[in-house]
């Protein structure tokens, strides 16, 4: 999705590097440069946020919060030496993690674990977001299944998978962003993939047994 047609961006902006567009925006308040930057990266930023929170409304709010901070803080905190999108991603990641942690504060998950059904509080909640997500995104069954499994991954593992997938972020940067060592970041990726594999296998088993 791109911004409205009447505000079309000149074709030469397409060929510009991010750093050039950022420079135009910062020094000359060039709004078209900002629109071009947003058009380039919004889907990745939004996908990352959405894949972490699994709720359209919340994702919209965090996306807006992220770009509001980008606009207001760019003059003070962005150093043009670094990649602009990595800086934006850091803001998006922090905003997302803040939201997730705020949500977690309200429920003590460990105390609500049910040994018989082997489920916790969240497992027993109806997954309304997953339904909404399928309605709105019109995604196929396998993608829906994948998103569901990813949403069940621990937050740390999900973060590494998403940052790597949507941004192809080097593990060194992921490690810096999540404040762990590179080996820990690599280990989280490995566990995430192994866990996803298990989840797919368990689901296949269930389907086979039910048939």
């Amino acid at each position: 999705m791109r911004l409205k047609k009447e505000k079309n961006i000149p074709t030469n902006y397409d060929k510009m590097k991010d750093s050039e567009l950022v420079h135009l925006y910062r020094k000359k308040d060039d709004q078209l440069a900002f629109r071009e930057l947003m058009n380039r990266h919004q889907a990745k930023v939004y996908s990352y946020i959405f894949s972490m929170v699994h709720n359209r409304e919340v994702a919209n709010d965090i996306f807006q919060e992220t770009f509001t901070k980008v606009i207001t803080k760019m003059d003070d905190t962005y150093n043009e030496q670094g990649k602009w999108i990595a800086w934006v991603m850091r803001i998006a990641h922090n905003a997302t993690i803040d939201y997730i942690r705020k949500q977690k504060r309200f429920v003590d998950v460990s105390s609500s674990y049910d040994k018989e059904s082997k489920t916790d509080f969240y497992d027993r909640l109806p997954d309304e977001d997953a339904v909404n997500q399928q309605d709105k995104l019109e995604i196929d069954e396998s993608t829906s299944e994948l998103l569901e499994h990813i949403s069940n991954l621990p937050e740390e593992q999900r973060t590494v998978v998403m940052l790597r997938h949507y941004y192809e972020m080097p593990f060194k940067e992921i490690a810096e962003l999540t404040k762990v060592s590179i080996n820990t970041a690599l280990g989280r990726m490995r566990y995430a993939l192994i866990n996803l594999r298990k989840m797919f296998d368990e689901k296949r088993e269930k389907e086979t047994n039910s048939v």
């Binding site: 996306f63 807006q64 994948l146 080097p170």
Partner: protein, 195 residues
Amino acid sequence: MTKSDTDCIKYLENEMDPSEKIVFEREIESNSDLLIELETIRTIRDKVKNSLPLISAPESVLESVANFSEQHAQKPKVKSIPPYLTAAAAVFVCTITIGIFLIDESGTHQGDVINASFNSEINLPSGISTSETETEAVIPWVDRNQVLHFTGNQDEKADGADPIFQNSYKHLTPVGPANDVRTTQRSFHLTRTSN
């Protein structure tokens, strides 16, 4: 987590340097368990890579962000002053303030000394204002730089010929020998020699 546990991920994600890659590939050939783990992780990784959708933000959200950016651009920007300029300004202000303070202090101190010596010499009767007593107690000030010292013999005839010059002697007051002159740089002696 051992180093070998993360090797498969490092290999798949191109995080190995060429030498590490060669060593790992040799290990795969000899270790079938490692090969199985590698293929398992590769399969699920490819599935994630190919299936995860790229979701676009709603147009209304994008428009509101763009509008916010335009509004923000219209606000007058407060330019931040570079830190070195701030430091320089602070040093300048401090220097000026300290300078003024010191000048003021020394002026006040001198005044105090004068007043103290003045008051110690004269006991002011009650009811007499300070300004009146100041005029009485003033000691005539002699500018030693302006004193003309004469030494040697004076020619009476020559002096008598010039009454103006003779009258000028009446205004001269001897203040002591020439050696007493403290500031020799700016004083001068009018002398007359027989030559």
